[in-house]
Amino acid sequence: MLRRLVILAALLGSLSLLVSAQVAEVAVFGASDLALAFKEIVPKFERALGVKVTLVLGSTGTLAKQIEHGAPADVFFAADRTFIEELAVKGVVIPETRALYAQGRLVLATARSAGAKLTELRQLTDARIRHIAIANPAHAPYGRAAEQALRAVGVWDPVRAKLVYGENIRQALQFVESGAAEAGLIALSLANVPAIDYVVIDRTLHAPLNQSVAVVRRSRRPELGLAFIQFVNGAEGRPIMKRFGFLLPGEF
């Protein structure tokens, strides 16, 4: 019995030693609304500078906590500038490197399977719309903007019982994409998918979704992080960000 276990343990041990090569590279942490745009920008940056980018996408709140506790990020693209401000106060990011890189836009999305294509927020009171997906207003920037917009047109109370909250904006999109929710308020940067129709919501209806970035203080390659920020905000990055529906610094 003991011998059998020892052999088993040795076997497990040797299997776990299957090591992987680890290369030094620049780690970019970014909010999930950047998923599609950064998928195009990152390879361009890698080719231009001959470096390897590790892209880590997630909810801004989670990433901020992880960076605070030592996650190996070189640069952090938040979906909301308040997170960068907080990290700057805590000394986690380098204040001088802070930069605005985009303003997010909110869209009213309708699932194609729902039949009715909505063109304005007031139509959400329609009885055919039974579920409306938004990101959680308590902590997700796009959720907060969605609540503000619904309040601004005076339908927050009538539609409140229909709201379903996604953990983040990407999940809210999935609710609509799958048809589980007939409509939703989601990010323009992610809205270009086959299963949904959308119209852009007037941005004066909510506080601006200003997204900012900064280099992380613990970074061993701050110059590369800075270079990536400049790339996103430069001639190569801007047209891509624009195509995915972001408003750019200097244009809003």
């Binding site: 497990l12 996650a71 990407r170």
Partner: protein
């Protein structure tokens, strides 16, 4: 297809299961066979990782093993990083899976007739020898069930790993995290393929293990 997440998940879940066995069996045995102050409390506490939301559990773990945390700082002093390395993924998988092993093994030990152990004792066997030659073989079925559950839980862990190991491609991105990442990026074919790989890999492994386990007992 990037094979890294598959290799990493294999490595992490196997290491975590080994760790779970090493720490869980003595704990389960103590809970089943020994009376000590706080036993009932500990008995209830060991299941708490199943009760808390995984990301919350992950956050607490991060506070402990992060670079600023009490455990993390000790390891940093020994120049070993825990958080955001594959080691964090192992700790996450271990924490998530250990309640399943403990509960199964504890039930197994409880089911072993104490008189058989006493008989061995009258024959002059040491406690250590009784454990290995009487108690463990008789509890073996429950323990293998616990190991299978623990392994699957370790392999599939998402929330705790996401928080303490991050989802760093090529470094800490395990199979479940990679699948989720593909879903996030709207890359459903890749996500479907990796999901299929995950299920097939675990099924094949478990078929192999069940054969191995049946050989002896």
């Amino acid at each position: 297809m990037d094979l890294f997440p598959i290799a990493l998940s294999a490595r992490v879940s196997i290491t975590a299961t080994a760790l779970t066995l090493l720490t869980g069996i003595p704990l389960a045995w103590a809970l089943a066979r020994r009376d000590f102050p706080g036993r009932r409390l500990l008995d209830a506490l060991v299941v708490s990782p199943l009760v808390l939301p995984p990301t919350v559990l992950g956050y607490y773990l991060l506070v402990l093993i992060g670079t600023r945390g009490p455990i993390g700082r000790v390891f940093e002093a020994l120049s070993v990083s825990l958080a955001f390395t594959w080691r964090a993924a192992v700790i996450a998988a271990w924490l998530g899976s250990i309640p399943l092993l403990i509960k199964a093994a504890q039930a197994g030990f409880d089911g072993v007739d104490v008189r058989l152990e006493q008989a061995a004792r009258t024959l002059g066997r040491s406690e250590w020898s009784i454990f290995w030659s009487v108690t463990l073989p008789l509890a073996w079925r429950s323990i293998t069930a616990g190991v299978v559950l623990a392994f699957c839980r370790a392999f599939g862990d998402f929330g705790i790993t996401l928080m303490v190991a991050g989802s760093i491609p090529g470094k800490t991105q395990t199979l479940p995290l990679a699948i989720y990442d593909h879903v996030q990026a709207n890359e459903m074919p890749q996500a479907n393929l990796l999901s299929l790989v995950a299920v097939i890999a675990v099924v094949v492994l478990l078929l192999g293990v069940s054969r191995l386990a049946r050989l002896r007992y």
